[in-house]
Subunit: 396 residues, 2 copies
């Protein structure tokens, strides 16, 4: 029986494609430090679990397709506190940030339309481009420039009559780049002048380091009709397993379209929305503490990476990722080798080969993405294993 | 800003498109009996809520993309008890039955490919045909024949070189039809002779009335390489709000493709999978009781419908839906009118106009789908309101 061409053209997620090797390593008794995936070891606030423990219902029925009203209102208040003027009616709850992107692409593109984004970009986007039969065009950002945006001319040279939107994660994944006010204003101007939507994924809005101010696309008034915000509780509240994300837009036609798609899948999970609603009631102090935690981790991983001979990495301004350039020809092979053939006292590490985040992957075979989602001790141990691993790999 | 052609061509779900009128009726103080949607009032087993109350975790992390192992194993045991030879590795947990269909279509069709199903079919399928840029072809089934399948010749006349699969819900939604062993064997033969997949949605496998035996496609050995089973806990355990469904297939390439898609969206919700795993540990006695409950409801709704002058309905053999033909020209208008302008002592009812379930909807403007998901008293009251409503509508 034949499978579709589209599924055959879809690569396995760069983040998880080495998972079978990690599983095998664990079965052999090895401990694996997971720096491959943005799955934090930070505790999910107790508020989530308390809320779901207190659920008292006889029938677990479908929630409204747009999401539980209490959650949409909590999200709206969260935005308003950040000077992003969203109301509950501007919000559709989605099953993770993933579904938010799926709905967006279906609502604004037809088969063959194009999305413009930066390179490198979050590898799982590509699955959704294939699922929706859209294509992707990219403009380059580089480790040397801490992955900040290129000039307006470079970006506009990639726009054609099939381009429907500029898609940007801010802070960036896999780069940790935090765009300046000038950069997002430039994107706003480009979008207006070329009549494009802006799809802004701001999942890491609170994880901004070194005293930077975060500039949200949501605060720029002149793009309100073309801005689609994508969000998630996965990273913000260390609640990846809840699969609760959302779309927010002042464009009422777009929200109606998203709601049509939401209705097609009936509802997001009720219990998780109840838990998420409790999270959005939390005091902002929570974010101050979390930011400190991740900034310390960033400091440690960058320091440790720079100590290793031949390794370069960027200074992530936010989120919890950094791209490291390793002294190897093929990071895919090296990452697999670490899991299959290497350990230090029974411990090894898993990283995401960065080639999967690039359109022109052949030029970036020596890069990996590291998620600094583990505690500082674990990061130091993992970096020691990386150092020893690089020496042993070279000496094979 | 322009929306996509595909989203503009997507109708609102026939099940929920009257929801704004129902909301308005409720705001005006009316009680609304919801027979429009398959959202049972049957209590979700306590096992679900107990399992999630007992969750003791610090970090709500991503589950494996294929689903929690304990849930996949519980599902496998459930199938094996029904002589459907599925192992845990043959199963991918999905976010509801909806995602199961999305994954299936993406895995086996390319843009422009065709799916063959019966008419009427579950209206939300159509959203997924649009989302995946596939087309649909149908063969007719009729209320007079309790929606059983037409002849092999009629079905095969609808197959062309773009057809990739036959999609059938058994028992049927919106019809409640339960196919006989001969019927599913016929479909099996057609699929083999025309090299098609069979997508079998068997969500209501336990809700089979009048002592019928249920014949699952999963028990037919000669189609194991082409069978894709779709399932869900929503109806089986009255757990609609959990959004836990699954795919099951002995076709390893298909399961690998589904897993690739599952990896793209990272995971299904962890907490709900823990609850669902507890449900699949329950004794089969549960289903015996539930079957009795729904059969009684079926008996009552069919009896009451047949008492109403000018109304015809089919005798559903399973599931919890019946199609009723009403003495009105436009059931869409009548259903809206019931919500907007009619009540009996402050109570009214909501039904799903059946035209949204038909490819050739213009011929079926007088039909509605009724879900007998409410208790017997509520059904009797709702049918009284329908009777009075039909008289008042006619007398306007």
């Amino acid at each position: 029986m034949k499978l579709s061409n589209r599924i055959q053209s879809m690569p396995y997620s760069a983040i998880r494609k080495l998972t079978p090797y990690a599983q095998k390593a664990k079965e052999e008794g090895k401990k694996v430090y997971h720096l491959n995936i943005g799955a934090p070891d930070v505790e999910t606030p107790k508020e989530f679990f308390e809320a779901i423990k207190n659920i008292d219902m006889d029938v677990l029925s479908y929630a409204p397709s747009a999401g539980l009203q209490e959650l949409r209102e909590g999200m709206a208040q969260y935005y308003q506190k950040r000077n992003i003027p969203m109301e509950a009616d501007d919000i559709v709850v989605t099953v993770g940030g993933s579904e938010a992107l799926l709905f967006t692409l279906l609502a604004i593109t037809d088969v063959g339309d194009e999305i413009l984004t930066c390179e490198p970009y979050y590898t799982n986007y590509y699955s959704y481009f294939i699922e929706t039969s859209t294509t992707v065009s990219t403009f380059p950002t580089t480790v040397e420039n801490d992955f900040h945006l290129p000039s307006r001319e470079v970006i506009e040279s990639k726009i054609n009559d099939k381009t429907k939107a500029i898609l940007l994660a801010n802070p960036g994944n896999p780069t940790g780049a935090v765009y300046t006010q000038e950069e997002i204003e430039m994107i706003a101007d480009i979008a207006i002048d070329n009549d494009l939507y802006i799809i802004a994924e701001e999942l890491y809005r609170e994880f901004i380091f070194d005293g930077r101010e975060f500039s949200s696309f949501g605060t720029i008034e002149r793009i309100q009709d073309r801005l689609i915000l994508q969000d998630s509780i996965s990273k913000r509240f260390s609640g990846c397993g809840a699969r609760i994300g959302n779309l927010a837009s002042k464009n009422k036609d777009f929200i109606a379209a998203a709601l049509k798609l939401a209705t097609g899948r009936l509802a997001a999970p009720t219990v998780d929305m109840i838990g998420a609603a409790a999270l959005y009631q939390m005091d902002d102090e929570y974010f101050e503490n979390i930011k400190t935690v991740y900034q310390e981790r960033r400091d440690v991983i960058v320091e440790e990476l720079n100590k290793i001979e031949g390794v370069k990495c960027n200074m992530a301004g936010g989120a919890f990722y950094t791209i490291a350039d390793l002294p190897v020809d093929d990071a895919d092979d090296f990452c697999r080798w670490l899991l299959e053939e290497f350990d230090v006292d029974g411990e090894t590490l898993m990283m995401a080969p960065a080639s999967g985040f690039y359109e022109h992957s052949e030029n970036f075979q020596s890069q990996v993405r590291l998620a600094f989602v583990l505690n500082v001790d674990a990061i130091r141990k993992a970096m020691h294993i990386l150092d020893e691993g690089l020496k042993a790999y070279k000496a094979r």
